[in-house]
């Protein structure tokens, strides 16, 4: 990996902005009909039909412990793919931009809090006076990944 240049897809949940590594983002879709799947963690809202493929969808609000919100025209599902062909979608309030940044601008969060639940944050980056939380996508679904 020669360059230290990084790109993140930035999206918004309430007033907070989050970033996902662009290499892991497959496509961004409008909101679709979600079919509920029983016996799944509460943050898994269900599955959608993505042009013939079944893709599980996660609500980040539930995942982060924020109250849910009804979808509107800006709501999007960001489809990502992590280690070894595991694909899933993330429901976000809106998608903002693609942020260009350097590895050196990314600050680590270890030591911020002792909260183990925050291991799905891989770092933060500043852009102007905005603070963007970078997500560790694998950790978002780690409890669901079986061997």
């Amino acid at each position: 990996m020669a360059s230290s240049h990084r790109q993140y897809v930035v999206f918004r949940i309430d007033n907070d902005e989050y970033g996902a590594d662009i290499n892991k983002v497959t496509i961004i879709e409008r909101m679709a009909t979600i079919t509920r799947v029983p016996k799944t963690p509460p943050y898994i809202k269900g599955v959608i039909n993505l042009r013939g493929d079944i893709v599980p969808v996660m609500d980040l609000r539930t995942r982060f412990g924020i109250p849910e919100k009804e979808a509107d025209d800006n709501t999007r599902i960001v489809i990502v793919e992590v280690s070894n062909n595991i694909g899933f979608g993330i429901i976000v309030d809106s998608v903002v931009e693609v942020l260009q940044t350097e590895e050196s601008d990314i600050e680590s969060v270890s030591g911020f809090t002792g909260n183990a639940n925050l291991d799905y944050i891989s770092g933060v980056v500043r852009s102007g006076d905005r603070l963007i939380t970078l997500l560790n996508l694998e950790k978002l679904v780690s409890e669901l990944i079986t061997v």
Binding site: T33, V37, P38, G52, L144
Partner: protein
């Protein structure tokens, strides 16, 4: 040089060849003198050597080279095909399989030299009587009618057969320029020409020595070909640095000539019959090979793409059906839709057939495995296979291998008794395992049957108690069949000791899980003292099934039609309780009742207790039945099974999903987990 693009081809073709080698070695073991088998083995080893050499795999090519030497000795009867020799050849096969495995995983053959095996091979070679190599000193004058080569019994037979088939047989003597620097390169070119246009049946010095440049500057070969003499004269003379080419036609008169009787190669007269038979087979094989290759190798991924497209087509067809509502249909639309239905069904069937592979590909390794296990355990076991041509879907074939290995190992280890014990029981010394595959309706059945000791039910009962799984009175109350089911629990084994083969208690539950994951079922029938039979049922088609769509809460679910026994209206008052479990009586059988909205956590739209009748779908798993309460039935339709993806594939009660005609997703219930 970038060899990576050839890796796939190399691995695939090597595997095919090794498969041939496996089969041939097993045949050879039963019939050690059979020349045609030896020739086949030689051919395979030679091919593998060539492939390995081209790819730069020196260890592999070295090993196959030595194998060739030994095989050549075997077919010329300088070496005897003893059990020891065959064992070593099997070891070579294992080593080669390891090399190929390494290549497929890492791209290189690895560093293992298997020097032990190579030494064995050398040892075998050195025990033979040194052959008189160069025979051509007696006819150096080039008198056309005398042959340079000395023909032994085997050669004569091969030539006899060729002549019988109106093929030409030539003895070709090639002399290279003495100043020639790269003899091997010249020879390579010459041999290429020869191999392209003929079959080389004899070479003096032997082919290997020539390739290693262990010859002066001339050599002689005998070939069988359709081409005429002039062709070879022209071709060979056009190779540079070839000084002289002499081609003599070998005719029957040469065969009748016994004056060139070599001291060593005296084929045993008693084996004449076998040789003739072998030679005919050898000639037959070359002509057979040109006829059978009418197949095309297709990448599995391409078949998967095809399969997906067909699935999409079926979904769209169903949508079309739904859109054009019954009232609006005129005759033309109806007819067209029917044609569409016919074509898509045929297309689906055709694609499914393309994915079907005969179980032979899985079964073929079992004879060897049983042979090895029998040796290891000092037992006498024979494996009988039938129905190898029965076909299964590609994905099933990939998964079924491991479970079958477990089961067969169990039969060999626990089932079949030691020879002495068998004789004591009045059985034949040799134990038998039958492996059968056949089609039964929409299923393929695979049976593993042995005439061994059968399952010791009492021992299993004791084990259940020992493990504290059930109380004593329950254990005593279990029927024999119910007791057998406990063997499928994880970590259950009645073995007193753990062998390398079985006894660890991890086999049978994995078998059951894997087979059920494929949509199949496993049953065991056993009679103490007589043997056991394991029956595996697998569905023929995987991805597209008939299903019943039902409504639970306001969510749609699909239940595979195959699993449904019947549907009826259940009177709530007929529901009783047995140990906290709701049950009902269905024609003299007590079946458990499951209210799906409880299990699936759906919203309750109507209170069940207010209904006069509940819709009950009775599903089956093998012989067990369960009644599922749903809110209402929607319809029956063909659905395409879609995976839920890796994240959700382990969810209880849900086997997958399907996309309905309106584009929405409906979940497919996993009946096995509900029963």
């Amino acid at each position: 040089m970038d060899m990576s693009q050839y890796l796939n081809i190399f691995v695939e073709e090597s595997r095919e060849n090794l498969q041939d080698l496996n089969t041939s070695l097993l045949e050879l073991e039963k019939d050690p003198g059979n020349i045609s088998i030896l020739n086949e083995i030689f051919r395979v080893a030679h091919t593998l050597k060539g492939m390995a050499g081209t790819m730069g795999y020196t260890h592999m090519s070295n090993l196959t080279h030595k194998m060739e030497d030994v095989l050549d000795g075997l077919r010329n009867e300088r070496i005897q095909a003893t059990a020891n020799v065959i064992d070593v050849l099997f070891k070579c096969l294992d080593a080669l399989e390891n090399y190929v495995e390494n290549v497929s995983l890492t791209g290189s053959e690895g560093d293992e030299e298997y020097s032990e095996i190579v030494d064995y091979l050398s040892g075998i070679l050195n025990h033979d009587i040194p052959e008189k190599t160069v025979q051509d000193n007696n006819t150096a004058s080039g008198k056309k009618d005398n042959l340079r080569l000395e023909l032994n019994e085997y050669d004569r037979n091969v030539i006899e057969n060729a002549l019988g088939q109106s093929l030409n047989v030539f003895e070709i003597y090639v002399e290279l320029d003495q100043k020639c620097l790269l003899k091997a390169a010249r020879v390579f070119i010459i041999f290429q020409i020869l191999e392209k246009n003929s079959d080389i049946i004899k070479s003096v010095p032997p082919v290997n020595d020539i390739e290693d440049e262990k010859f002066d500057y001339y050599f002689t070969v005998a070939v069988i070909t359709k081409k005429d003499r002039e062709f070879f004269v022209k071709e060979l003379n056009s190779v540079s640095e070839v000084r002289k080419v002499e081609i003599t036609e070998i005719t029957r008169t040469h065969l009748g000539d016994n004056k060139q009787a070599p001291a060593v190669d005296n084929a045993k007269r008693t084996e004449i019959k076998e040789d003739k038979h072998g030679a005919k087979d050898a000639a037959q094989k070359t002509s057979d090979k040109k006829v059978t290759a009418k197949t095309v190798r297709v990448d599995i991924e391409r078949l998967d793409v095809l399969m997906n497209l067909v699935s999409e087509l079926i979904i769209i067809k169903t949508r079309l059906d739904g859109i054009i509502s019954a009232g609006e249909r005129d005759r033309e639309i109806s007819q067209t839709l029917e044609s569409l239905e016919r074509v898509t069904t045929s297309l689906h069937d055709a694609v499914m057939k393309a994915r079907m592979v005969p179980v032979e590909t899985v079964f073929s390794r079992f004879p060897r495995m049983v042979r090895d296990i029998a040796k290891e355990l000092n037992k006498d076991i024979v494996l009988h296979m039938s129905g190898e041509e029965t076909e299964l879907d590609r994905t099933v074939i990939d998964e079924i291998g491991e479970p079958l290995i477990h089961i067969i190992r169990n039969s060999a280890d626990h089932g079949i008794e030691k020879p002495e014990d068998r004789i004591k029981k009045g059985k034949e010394r040799t134990g038998n395992i039958w492996l059968r595959a056949y089609q039964d309706g929409n299923n393929v059945i695979i049976e593993v049957d042995d005439d061994g000791a059968g399952i010791d039910i009492e021992k299993v009962r004791r084990k259940i108690l020992e493990k504290g799984l059930e109380s004593e009175e329950i254990v005593n109350g279990l029927t024999d069949d119910e007791v057998i089911q406990y063997l499928f629990l994880p970590n259950f084994s009645t073995s007193d000791k753990i062998t390398d083969i079985s006894g660890r208690g991890v086999g049978l539950d994995v078998v059951k899980t894997k087979i059920e994951a494929l949509g199949g079922s496993v049953d065991v029938i056993s009679k103490r003292g007589l043997g056991s039979k394991i029956i595996i049922r697998l569905p023929l088609t995987l991805a597209i099934i008939q299903a019943l769509l039902v409504l639970v809460g306001n969510e749609k679910f699909a239940i595979p039609l195959n699993s449904i026994r019947e549907i009826y209206n259940l009177n709530p008052q007929d529901i009783k309780y047995v140990r906290n479990q709701e049950v009902t009586v269905l024609r003299d059988t007590v079946i458990p009742i499951i209210r799906l909205h409880n299990v699936l956590d759906t919203e309750v739209t109507e209170d069940d207790s207010s209904k006069k009748y509940l819709t009950c779908v009775v599903v089956k798993k093998g012989e067990k039945l369960t009644g599922l309460i749903v809110d209402s039935l929607i319809n029956q339709q063909e659905i395409v099974i879609k995976s839920l993806g890796r994240l959700l594939s382990g969810i209880r009660f849900i086997a997958g999903a399907t996309i309905l005609g309106d584009g929405n997703v409906a979940l497919i219930l996993d009946v096995n987990s509900l029963v």
